[in-house]
Point group: C2
């Protein structure tokens, strides 16, 4: 679930309160996942809607669209530390097109098989055509993904504590830089673009890492709206502040080939990364590096959680000169 403050404020009011009890105990409402206890079992559930023209370029390869539609949901499960088990798919199509859906399904099922997340239900409906998109493209998809959690466990945005380290998986900013190139805004060398493009089209959800972090991390979120905005969600839920060191923010070689201002915009505010940002006490550093190795995922320490008491802003990012980095925007907002 990507929950932009601006977008979801209306519906947010109607959510069951943060910890609902009843036949099904639930926590994490308004988080990446809802975490639900059903009898003696615990599951994590997330829903995401994706639209051609908003989340995908109109000419995106159907295989990539299918892969990414599932990947962004698995990424929400990764942020909760859940093991993907099942997903449900709705497709809105402007008209019936077996060719497009068949290619879409190929990418989708590639990730389904690889992640052990089975397609258990679905629905296809007619929706209006998007003016500028390929007339055969589906307009919109909605996926609900469900995963297993051990009894009593599950990462949320709410547990970061002063003194905790702030960590990031993989590298940030690649997908956004690829999009800026596609839009014609940034000049990027063909070879660098090719590396960035894969990160935009085929994001790798970090479920193996998330599962290993379950007994280690104090809070976690996946980066969909931009590092600064998503980390701020953690800070708000955890009632803490943060200091981040810009030089530590992990960036790919391809992104480092761009001017530093573009690197900052892409990696701090860009979004569409589907990397994990998580917090943990300094005493767990060795275990975190081991989890990174075991899951074949780069993990980088980028800052520190601070107490809320002082009066400056919740998140400050410092560069090597000790100056604060100005953020380009407040992250991705579909309605901005």
């Amino acid at each position: 679930m990507s929950e932009n403050g601006g977008e979801f404020s209306i519906i947010d009011r109607f959510f069951s309160s943060g910890e609902a009890t009843g036949p099904w105990f639930c926590k994490g409402v308004g988080d990446d996942c809802a975490i639900i206890d059903i009898g003696a079992s615990r599951i994590a559930v997330t829903i995401d809607m994706l639209a051609m023209g908003t989340h995908f370029l109109p000419d995106a390869a159907p295989e990539d669209v299918g892969f990414k539609a599932l990947a962004v949901n698995l990424s929400d499960l990764a942020a909760a530390g859940a093991v993907p088990r099942a997903f449900f798919l709705s497709i809105g199509l402007p008209k019936k097109d077996d060719g497009w859906v068949s290619r879409f399904s190929r990418g989708l099922m590639e990730l389904s098989r690889r992640s052990g997340c089975a397609l258990l239900g679905g629905d296809t409906v007619r929706t209006p055509r998007i003016p500028k998109a390929d007339e055969n493209s589906p307009a919109v998809f909605s996926i609900t993904a469900m995963g297993d959690l051990p009894k009593g466990m599950g990462l949320t945005r709410g547990g970061a504590r002063p003194g905790d380290d702030i960590w990031v998986s993989g590298t940030l900013g690649d997908a956004y830089a690829a999009l800026k190139y596609r839009w014609g805004h940034w000049a990027i060398a063909p070879k660098a673009f090719e590396q960035l493009r894969v990160r935009m089209d085929r994001p790798e959800p970090r479920n193996a890492l998330g599962r290993l972090l379950l007994p280690i991390a104090t809070a976690a979120i996946d980066v969909s709206d931009g590092f600064a905005q998503d980390l701020t969600h953690v800070l708000e839920r955890s009632r803490v502040k943060a200091r981040v060191d810009w030089d530590s923010v992990p960036r790919s070689e391809a992104l480092r080939s761009l001017p530093e201002e573009q690197q900052k915009e892409a990696s701090l505010s860009g979004g569409d990364d589907y990397e994990l940002v998580f917090t943990a006490p300094p005493s767990r550093r060795r275990e975190i590096f081991e989890a990174g190795i075991a899951s074949d995922t780069l993990v980088t320490r980028v800052g520190t959680i601070l107490p809320l008491e002082s009066s400056d802003s919740a998140l400050t990012i410092y560069d090597a000169t000790g100056g604060a980095v100005a953020l380009k925007s407040e992250g991705f907002d579909h309605f901005a």
Copy 2:
């Protein structure tokens, strides 16, 4: 989950086989709900996408749209016999509009409270505007609803046996007749239309009846695509045939004010009813009438399940003269 043969045949190929095993045992894939065993607990899960202009008239009241968006999902849970517990909502909006969403939420949450089905997660994204709709209307919604089932239980389309009675809840055809009036195709007296309109705008999911039928019925489905088409889904899954008596098909007083040909079209082929069609042995008739009384729901016996052996078509509907009723269409298909 509404699974029109024509619409979903492509994705259908990719569903996990009817009974998937693994950490989560699952049956009912391709049914109204997936029925999943998680540890010692059993749940039913359904997903439905609804689009303005396809499932809702462009000028539909936002409160009604919200109510019905949840109702059609609860109806799928009713067909499985599940008790609604939680739902997840995605909204696709052409632009931010707090007023519309606030009114939508009012109708949605009215049914949420009444049914004990809590909103546990959601997502709002920007989607393209529908050409002819109110420019502030959301384009598309997707709801995933989850319910409780007792261990080892759960109604599917697959259990009807020769000799079983065929039953219908409530009355059929009202919503379709209201739509035909709104489209200007049928002339209906204002008072009759008012009764039909409520059935189109505020369908009552039959969860109380469905739960009571759980130990009684052999198969069940909810009528979304039209009685004939949805009963045919049961026949196909159960590998049986059926004989239905047209005069027994339950119709409201308002529908009976229309010409008989229109009554036939609306109640047999119309769809959008969200009533249950279910089967049970004749020995259970008394229990079924008691379940109807206990849930304050009309239940009507309309026909009989037959063995597959004979060569005529799977479903035959006879009128009082003993002649077969010709079906107007094969039910609702978004792409027809």
